[in-house]
Structure formats: structure tokens, C-alpha cells
Amino acid sequence: MDNRVVEFIHGLRAAGVRVSVAESQDALRAMSVLGVYNKTLFRESLRATLVKEVDDFAAFNELFPLYFGSGGPPLQNAMEDMTPDEQDMLKAALSALSGRWQQLLDWLTSGEGPTKEELEEMARRAGAQWAQNPQEAKWITRRMLRQLGFSQLEELMQQLMAQLQAMGMSQEAINKLMGVVEANRDALAEQIAQQVGRQVGEQLAEQRERRPEGLYGPDLMHKPFEALSEEEANLLRKEVQRLVAQLRSRAALRRKRGADGKFDAKSTIRANQRYAGIPFELRFKKQKLKPSLVLICDVSNSMRAAVEFMLRLVYELQDQISRARSFAFYGDLTEITVAMDTSRVEQAIENARDAIPGGPWRTDLGNSLETFFKKHLDAVDGRTTVIILGDGRNSWNSPRADLVQDLQRRAKRLIWLNPEPPRQWGTGDSDMLLYEPFCDRVFPARNLAQLSAAIDKLLTNN
């Protein structure tokens, strides 16, 4: 049983759930306390010890039955209750039907299913070893069932029934036989599904271990967003978590040190009243160092990846920011703060794109800024840092640099994050050179490393 649990943990890891060695130990200890006889308790004890993230519950729920399923109900032997005559008849009928699907019929009638090795071999033939993600298990199962002849089964059963009738078996016996065979069919399908699921899980776990280290390395941080493959982007999304932890502790430390700012006489006198006014405890004015942000993001195709990572970083860092409102623009601008509350950033960006009023699907910052001034100017005051994330390519629309200037005047500061290298600014439809004079800072944001460096500066040099 311990082995099974360990295999299960491997499977969880393959599905992307983080399980530490300490947690595996907890799971085994929990198992020894609660036993394994009550399956729901067992399941809950495993979940409480292994999965610490609500988002990972789905993976757990999917994998658990594959590893701790009953293995499917056992197959029954159809011949058991039969008279010797009937048994002979069945055997004769089966051999008369002998063809490609003989094997399947044997399994279904004899109650002796395939051995573990046979199942493994069949799963391999169905392509289990090529699986790239756990979702493929279902597809492989279907393929395996088809290879075994499940799709022809209905027809075969009809033939078998006709054969038996012709041989003179009683209708009652035939019905009973069919019942058993049907139950066996479901049981076998269940067994196969579990086997495939497990095999795919193990396969993925192995693949993960073999994956070259370089893929996780720092290079990915420096790879431009637009050059990321889907897999690399996924890896990077996970990396964001670690990055955020770093940024957070740096920011928190600086904030703490920054906190001993000005001496606060009033509070010190109050605090030291109980020591007869002798100043034992000194009090300092806490400086409000958490920035309040307004993000204006270009969500056109060229900017998607950069925006996604930006929003990811900002929303992971919510506790270091006193207030953040986000706006997305394309042809026009819309607020996406509320939409961002969901945990799925990709989905939120998708929603944002849907929320943007129709019209020409061409980037138009000028028009978008006008909308911002009309509807959302309350978001900006003297304490706000405005961040515009965009490439400044306006599809030849009016740039309205005057609005950017006005924005800078109203805000504490205006920062522009541009994923394009400076030598491309001003080429083609880029209006970046027009905007640049009105920005307090322009940071390059071509890859995650640059993006996080920019955010680090934001959080600390306030």
C-alpha cells in the first residue's frame, strides 16, 4: 500500500502538484492512523496532507480513482452457474465465432481478464508512452477499447446469441449469460481506464525527471515574451511565483527599514506616559511606502504575453500595493480591475478583450486615453503611479501626446514599460518618441527579467 501511495505522489507531481518529502511522510503517517479501510476517510486524509492549493484539488480528484480505484469490479465467470451441457454449447459457439475478437470474448465469458502485463502491453500499443499530458489518458483509453473490439461487441453478442439459440440453449440461460457479459464488459472498461491513467501518470513523472535542467534555468527569464513556446510560457508562469516571493521580501525589508523615518514626538509622549514621561520607547512616523497603481495595458496581439506577465506579477504582489486599478485598451479602453479578481489571469485577459467595445480592431491609444479621461480620471491623484504598458504603436491614429502629458501632471509619476528595443521606437507607426518626453521613466520590458527589475524599482524607490 505504501508503494501505491508513493506512486500516487509521483503521479500528482507529474500533474504539476508540488508535494514535498515531508508531506509524503505526513500522508503515510495519516494512513497509519486512520487505516485504509474507509475509502472516503483515506481520500480526505491524503488530500489534507498532500494538496495545499485549492487549484490542485481537480488534479487530485482526477488521479485518486486511478490509483486507489477498486481496480474495477472483478470479472465474473459466466460458466460457473451453467450445466455441463450449456458450457459445452458456449464453448462450441465461441469457437465457431472465432475471429479477431476471440480474445475479448474469452475474457468476458471466462471471468479471467487480461493480466497486468497484457494490459500494460495493450496500453503501450494504444500509444500511452507518447502521452504529453494527463488529459490524453481518456483518448488513449478510447483507442485501446476500440483496438480490443469494444465497438464491434454489440454485433458479436448478437451473433453469439443467435448461435446459442440455434444450438438450443434456453432463453433464460442466454439472458443470464448476456447479463454477465455486459457486467464484465463494464468492469473491463473500468480496469482499462484505470490502467491507462496510471501508466500515463508514471510516464509523465518519468518524463519530468528526464527533462533537461536548462529549461528551468535563468535563460528563460531573458527570452523575449514573443519567442516563448506554450510550454516555456507555462514554466515561466510557475517561475513568477518564486520571483514574487523574492520581490516581496525585498520590498518588505526595505519598507521596514524605511519605516524609521521621522521622529514622531506626539506618539512618543503618549507611549511613554506610563514611564513617567521618560522616553524609553521612541516612536517614528510610518512612511506610507506602498505604491498605488493605475495600469493601462495594451492588449493587442503583439502585447499579450508581456501584459499577461505584468498583470500576473502585479496581482501576485497585491499585498505590497495599496491599491491597483487596471485598464485594458485596444481600439478603446475598459476597466478590468473587477475582472482581474478571478485567479486565472489568462481568462481575465480574455474577458477584458471581450469587454472592450467593438469598433476598429486596431490599437488606438489616443482614443483610449480620451475614454480614460472621460470615465476614469478619478483613479488618478497625486499619489498614484500610472504605468502604461504598451509598444506605442498606434496604427497611424492620433497619438494625443497632450493627454499623456496631462496624465503625468496629475499623477505622482508616469512610467512606461515598452517591450520594444529603443532602436525601433519611432519607426513605422510607433509614436513612442512623442510619448517619451512625458514619461518619468521608461523601462524596457522585453522579458520577465526586465519586467521584474522594473517592478522591483517601482516597489522600492517610491
Partner: protein, 306 residues
Amino acid sequence: MFTDINDVLQRFSQQRYIATEEIATVIYLAQSLGKPVLAEGPAGVGKTELAKVWAKALGRPLIRLQCYEGLDESKALYEWEYAKQMLYTQLLRDSIGEIVGAASSLADAARRLSQEEDVFFSENFLLPRPLLTALTAPEPVVLLIDEIDRADVEFEAFLLEVLSDFQVSIPELGTINAVHEPMVLLTSNNTRELSEALKRRCLFLYVNYPGLSTEVEIVRLKVPDLRPELAQQAVEIVQQLRNLDLRKIPSISETLDWARALVTLNAGSIDAAVLRNTITVLLKYEADVAKARRMMGDGGRARPEY
């Protein structure tokens, strides 16, 4: 101590808390493995209540540490009682004079005094805060660390020692070990991601909004004056509201408030008028109220029968 999971369920229900089997399992495991529980879930589903009930069911005192931004060791763990220390130095001036009096030089006096300084940094002058109280309590306690997600990340790191070894290090005194290992419950509303290290040390419990029948049961238990069919109807409406895209989803405590409001208003049934007058008990934002009214008006299932 609980003897098994059914015992947990039974004693919790004696305390008028309806625990799911999942909650009972995790509580029992926490006791048998001696690990803290991290309860996560939306606000108002009874996470804090769980700790209170846990303490009551075991007949143990509950010690609560409410987390907030800027919470630090001196507020969570211990503080030196400066005032008491000062008072003692004043009162003991004579005896100090005796010790120092015989000294031949300033250096000698300082040396003599330093031999006695342990007196002033002893447990007599230690002002224990919730964590230290929980560890040094003469009887076993239940420790509730509420809304850990509000505390800073450094505080989370500081908690690790307490949670994994049930001990704390005080520079002047050394390491203090727990007299009895407390049962620990941490709650989080998930406003930010907690650190891996903290999660690793805890058993994880996700408390979600209860299903229809459980919530009806809770309402019947807590507001027994509400007629059963009315309770059923009220809970159905709340559960439907939860499916809407609201800014603040009504929690169990709001359901209970509403149920009490219905009792107070002596409502015979939940019709449009009653709903209009009382919906603000459930929903706290104007936009949400408007949305809910639209839903009711659409002839959805929640349309009251009248």
C-alpha cells in the same frame, strides 16, 4: 481528546456546529499527527467558529491571535515589561545600593551589577502574548491564528518555528518548549498566496459554502424560530444568489442574519415585498442588490410563489 472521527462529529454537533466528514477527518488527523491545520475558504463560512468549537468540544481554553498588517513578534510572542522592571529597580534601590556600595571602582560596580542582571530579564518580567501564552499554558489549549494572510511575510516565516517544533527562541532566555503541544488552527481568506514552507507544515482544509441541505440544517439549528419551509426557501434563494457574479457573495453568517430578520419581521412567506425590504441584510453593495433584483424579476426559479 477525540477517540475517533465519529467522536469528533458527535462532539461538534453537541456544540451546535455542523461539521462535514472532511472537517472531522482533518481535525482528528491534526490531533493524532500533532500538526497545525490551515483552513482556507471564503469569508464567513465558519473557519473561526471552527476553532471556537474545537476548543469547546475538548473543554480547552481558546487562545486567539488576530493577524493584521504590521503584526510583529513583540505583539504576538512576548514583550519585556519595562514598567515593572523600572518599578522594581526603584523599589530595590537599597539592595542595589548594598551590592554596589562595597565596590571599589566604577568597573567593579558595573561587574557586580551585571551579575544580578538576570533578575531583570527573567520570566517575572516577561509579558507573554498569545503565542507564548499558548506554549506555556499549564493545560493544553487550542490556538487560533486568525487571518494569517493579513500578516506580513516575515511574520509567516517567524511562525514556522512555532508551528513545526512548538518552541520559540527568546534571546535573553533561550529556547522555550511547549509544556503541552497546542492544537493550532490557522485561517486564511486567501487574499494572498501563503508561503510553501508554511503550507508544508500544515494540514490543509478547504471550507467552502455548504450545500443546500447542510445550510438548511445550519439555519434550523441556529435560528430554530424560523418555520422549516421558510428556512428551506430562504436558503434556496441565498444559494442562487451565490451563483450570481456579485462583488460580495453572501456567506453563512449573512444567511443567518437574514433568517433572524425574517423571524423578527414575522414574515409568513418570502414574497417580493419582504425580499425587497430585507435583501440589504444579504447583499452589501448597491450594484449587487440591483443585480439580485434583476435575477428575481427575470422569472428565475427564485421568483417567490405568491
